[in-house]
Symmetry: C2
């Protein structure tokens, strides 16, 4: 088993392409602003319901600075999202010019900009200089290097001055329902699969009120008293009034598009008074993402699981990565880190990862954990480790390092006497939604493990930044904690890590969580791993996991222990079970033992459960990482490994995206073909006979294990009978 | 000499009236928001010029909470400045209701509100409960007690739901010019005295461009190339375009009001193209303040100085207290503390003091000094000491104490090895604008003195809060610093405090600043005081002070040393000198030795000097505190003293406002009449003969000194020959 913490520093850093002209802003601000916007979309029964943690604001007044040396004067075109002033050296230009002349010679251009509503972003184009990351921007307290807007990797959406980033909207596509039932003054409609967007009422006629009840299930849409998402709109002869916001607009034509984006697979549209409608259309609002990863195999159920998984992920991969589309529509750090990991195997949509990381973090001072949850703070750190490993984007680490440090200061200020984390007043210790109660007090082994990974992330990032004192500090802290974990939590009788200690003394409770992460973080020796597998992971008497959230890590641990065949069976029964229930997207929780109506409820709410939940899509990650078997071993896939595993499949083929290309694999029981476009790869496999290899360098590792070294864009073919 | 640091704790706290129904918000937020708005009004030659320190934002998402127990259900009327949702216990109300029913019994009402543009403030009216300071409001990180809007003391302006605080505007009054010259296509206009507001163009005819050049002096208004404030507006047949902002609006009628408020006593209005105007009007924008203080005496020049002083103060006492009306229009902490002190003797407009203190401070984290200036951080602390002393408003101290503490943490994190303050990278060490250079490096005695006062303020406020650890900490720090000051800075040869030390060693430079504050803060013994008076204050070879800013303290120190006669002479020559130059408001600096044109320039700018500058109005303070002689000795005038002093005047009369009334005095050489409406007063005076007193209790203090104790609203008449 390789050591799972990969040094991020001693590696070739593959820089992302130098930012071209783009809108620029104070680093993190557009991300935090966009995150706030999304976090304020939630309604419940038509009532505004904002995220219940602190929302940080963008810097409302900033100054952009660039010194240029020009051979000749240049005409400059300028666009600012806000009120602004231009100063060249010590001279102010009148008003808010859209064009001005930058004189020849060496001069400093300063553009002060102010906007309360949105970050005062800047777009500028001269002949020899443009707005890009070479600018600095200050909030007059801390100077920073400007960040740029790049919506999809390598394809800046915002290069035109007319489109300032704060006006960004996801594209819209009309989707007609597959079924419409009319009963009196009600229409009940169903779409082929779940979606999110704006409901358009077609063929409106007369005056009156239209009420809409949305549902992820038919039950929810039909239950007017309890459906979570509802809209009420009044049509008079000349105007339309949204009753939730009391916004009015002129009534025009026979169609009307409702103002709030809503998740729906079903909708009940009720006409009250002298009004009727012909039909409805969903104006689906989804991001354009390139599906760069792929997976196909001999099992059509698994193929469907992969497809529904990527669709679930796509619905939640929006301006930022949200947890689900119906209810919260918030960024949750523990959910997000899984979305990021799936994303690396599906879309490799990296700007949204950065944006979500910034938005989750916000600004200083830190006054609470990310999402108020202790564990979610640690997943936030750990997501930066992953991001850098998959993308090699050191510039992002450099920009966010200050906020990593201040968040870790907060964590370190709340350690207990033994230097461990435990829930303090105001903290939410989450771990998981579990079918039975589990203890959340004292020192949870699980929390120490994710904290340890965070300390290691800090150490690695400090090293990348060249901050030797920080590196030493976090390295020492990580080593100290690491050395405490097994002595504190390992219980020889149980052959596992117990759940927690109280006042430093072991309690008897045993759960899966810490044991899973101890496997994933490589804290156990071979004997302990086997013991954990037997006494915990394969032991039905230990409380089972019913959320796809923790199943993500549980199944990953099983894969890491080589149980790919068993995990395939699990996928077929658990995710296949949801599909058998008619799911078109994967759910927040699923317990095959529950009846239909229980499956819809959660949080004491009849329809509280989200049926399109990002963390439901983990097969996308597992199939890419543990079956196609690809992962980076140096940042940005400068080096990578492939440990392909068919499990019980006859064949599989697929692609794993890398920063500038992809790694393609096709595999049967007799032959494997690999074609990568970048990085140094090592393919590991096991076979009884000696393999015939073309296009790579084969070595035997003994005990039927082999490796093939692949350089750059070599096409490698391995012929052999795979075990 | 009494000890000048008065214990704020061991006193009767006179609470301000319990807040009635009002708009409420997250504490400090409306103040910070309003301050940002004002700080973004500055333009220079038509270019936007924001304040160059960090602007903090309001909390954009908050939740208001109130638990009530109602005998019967109540109809509730609600208004929120923003998007909002209402939840009663666990039930959401649909939409954003303006009316709802609060059920009988004990229930918790939660109103979540969101607004990016302005603080999401709340107004609510039920039968038995209303929006007031008994509510709590949270930004979801830190719960706080709601603050309320009260524009003028005791007279809430914002009690009506239709007027949300963010829409607050100062009232407008038309003022016609006293003189208009027409030269070709130009109008040159002059008003009787300087004002601020919006220029209205009357009798517009034709199409073309109108350029306006404003001036505090005729020279500035006539100098099209250099006047600081300019406007350019284009009139076409159907629309008007402001060239600075490119905002357009339909052209209606024959009058047009320019969009930017400007300071002006003169304006040059230039018509370009086929356009003409008949006349202009200033739509003067000034706050309605009650002039509760008064001063009148036998010297008409002094009366005029007092009147022009209060007018200068009135022009700068606006939404917040700004430093001057032409140029920056920003809040500067060192300027503001003087405005507050003058205000206590003129308008007793206390809400604006609180608002300016909040707005200067902003939020956490602290990343720089207030206004970036080391000394201005200390004046900010010290202004809270003054505010509490004059008003007795302990509730304000309680709300702002957290921000006092985090700012003091910042200061303490930047002390040098000797525990003293000195300029660190990024700090502006200001002290004063001086006619010759002075050293700003090393440990300035002046900075230690204002820092000492800040530590004492922290100690007192911690005591008021009942925070014993803090009290101990700041008390110890203050005592330690106090014990260092004389040994470090007193120079026996010079008979004074020297200007500064470098690396702990005395330099030879001698300035007035530290010596002034050592007198004011009572750090010197009688002999040292005499020495400072002789060797510094009355020594013309020590660099003179040419700003009314430091003259404020210099003259106060002379008054404190009993030199009221000399100070009256100074007032007549210095402020009288400005009046003789035609001033209708007092200036930023004045040096009688300078010629006319030099008097207009500053900061390397021909018209850079502000001719209406708050700190120019200090006689308002000095005449109230050291001639009428009134000041509080317990917070909120629970106790006060009066040390009336005619100087060379034949008679004087006046009023000093107190929280709920005023203290009136009339005095000739033979008789003094005092009538106060609150507090316990002690009147001190000197006379050769034994005074005859009615209405108070006389005691002799020996050496021709007497005191009269006055209780509540006693009318006291003292007849005697005053020295």
């Amino acid at each position: 088993m390789k050591k799972r913490i990969i040094s991020l520093f001693c590696s070739i850093v593959l820089a992302l392409p130098v930012a071209a002209q783009s809108w620029i802003w104070y680093p993190g601000d557009m991300d935090i602003w966009m995150g706030n916007k999304i976090n304020n979309l939630r309604t419940e029964r038509g009532s505004f319901y904002p995220a219940f943690w602190k929302a940080y604001s963008h810097e409302q007044t900033v100054e952009y600075v660039k010194t240029v040396e020009l051979a000749e004067a240049e005409d400059v075109e300028l666009c600012v999202d806000g009120h602004f002033g231009v100063k060249i050296d010590n001279t102010y230009l009148f008003g808010m010019p859209k064009h001005f002349t930058m004189p020849a010679g060496r001069h400093t251009l300063r553009i002060a900009a102010h906007n309360k509503m949105a970050p005062p972003s800047l777009w500028l184009k001269g002949k020899s200089f443009v707005s890009d990351t070479t600018w600095t921007v200050t909030n007059y307290a801390v100077p920073a290097k400007a960040d740029t807007w790049r919506e999809t990797d390598g394809t800046p959406t915002f290069i035109h001055p007319a489109q300032c980033p704060s006006s960004y909207r996801l594209p819209i596509t009309p989707v007609e329902p597959v079924k419409t039932e009319r009963t009196g003054k009600e229409l009940f409609v169903e779409w082929q699969r779940e979606g999110i967007g704006y409901l358009q009422l077609n063929g409106l006629n007369g005056n009156g009120q239209v009420n809409v009840y949305y549902g992820e299930s038919p039950d929810e849409a039909r239950d007017k008293q309890h459906s979570i998402l509802i809209d009420q709109v009044v049509f008079s002869s000349d105007q339309v009034t949204d009753l939730a916001t009391m916004d009015t607009q002129p009534r025009m034509g026979s169609a009307y598009v409702l103002k709030n984006s809503r998740a729906m697979r079903y909708a009940l549209v009720e006409c009250v008074g002298d009004i009727s409608i012909d039909s409805v259309t969903l104006l689906s609002e989804m991001k354009e993402v390139k599906q760069r990863g792929s997976f196909e195999c001999s099992d059509t159920l698994l193929n469907r699981i992969w497809q529904v998984g990527t669709y679930t992920l796509h619905l939640t991969d929006r301006e930022v990565m949200i947890e689900g589309i119906k209810r919260d529509r918030w960024m949750w750090s523990g959910d997000a880190i899984q979305s990021y990991l799936m994303n690396y195997y599906a879309f490799f949509d990296t700007p949204v990862v950065k944006r979500t990381i910034w938005a989750l973090r916000g600004k200083d001072p830190v006054e609470q954990h990310i999402n108020t949850i202790l564990d979610y703070t640690f997943f936030w750190f750990n997501s930066i480790y992953d991001y850098y490993l998959y993308t090699g984007d050191a510039a992002f680490v450099r920009q966010i390092y200050g906020r990593m440090k201040s968040l870790m200061d907060y964590v370190e200020g709340r350690l207990n006497q033994r230097g461990m984390v435990e829930g303090q007043p105001g903290d939410w210790v989450f771990v998981d939604w579990s079918p039975r109660d589990m203890s959340k007090d004292g020192e949870l082994a699980f929390e120490q493990l994710v904290y340890l990974r965070s300390l290691q992330t800090m150490q690695q990032c400090a090293e990348l930044m060249g901050l030797h004192n920080d590196m030493q500090h976090y390295g020492d802290a990580a080593n100290r904690l690491r050395s405490q974990i097994l002595p504190t939590f390992w219980n020889q009788n149980k052959g596992a890590l117990i759940h927690h200690t109280r006042n430093g003394r072991q309690e008897q409770e045993l759960t899966r969580y810490a044991n899973i992460f101890a496997v994933l973080y490589d804290l156990l020796d071979e004997q302990q791993r086997k013991s954990v597998l037997q006494h915990v992971l394969l032991n039905d008497s230990v409380m089972e996991i019913t959320t796809p959230y923790m199943r993500f890590y549980e199944l990953e641990a099983l894969c890491a222990l080589g149980l790919q065949r068993e995990v395939l069976s699990e996928m077929r029964s658990y995710w296949g079970g949801m599909l058998a229930q008619g799911a078109t997207t994967f759910w927040e929780t699923y317990d095959p033992k529950e009846g239909y109506s229980e499956r819809l409820g959660m949080y004491g709410n009849r329809y509280g459960k989200s049926l399109c939940h990002a963390w439901g899509a983990s097969p996308v990650y597992l199939l890419g990482k543990y079956y196609l078997g690809v992962q980076p071993t140096k940042p940005g896939y400068a080096e990578w490994e492939m440990r392909p595993c068919l499990g019980d499949l006859k064949w599989m083929r697929g692609d794993v995206p890398t920063p500038h290309g992809n790694i393609h694999i096709e595999m049967t029981r007799k032959q494997m073909t690999v074609l990568a476009t970048e990085g140094q790869g090592t393919i590991y496999f096991q076979s009884k006979g000696k393999p015939r290899v073309t296009g790579g360098t084969l070595s035997s590792l003994g005990n039927e294990q082999y490796k093939v070294l692949v350089n750059g864009s070599q096409r490698v073919v391995v012929k052999v009978r795979f075990n």
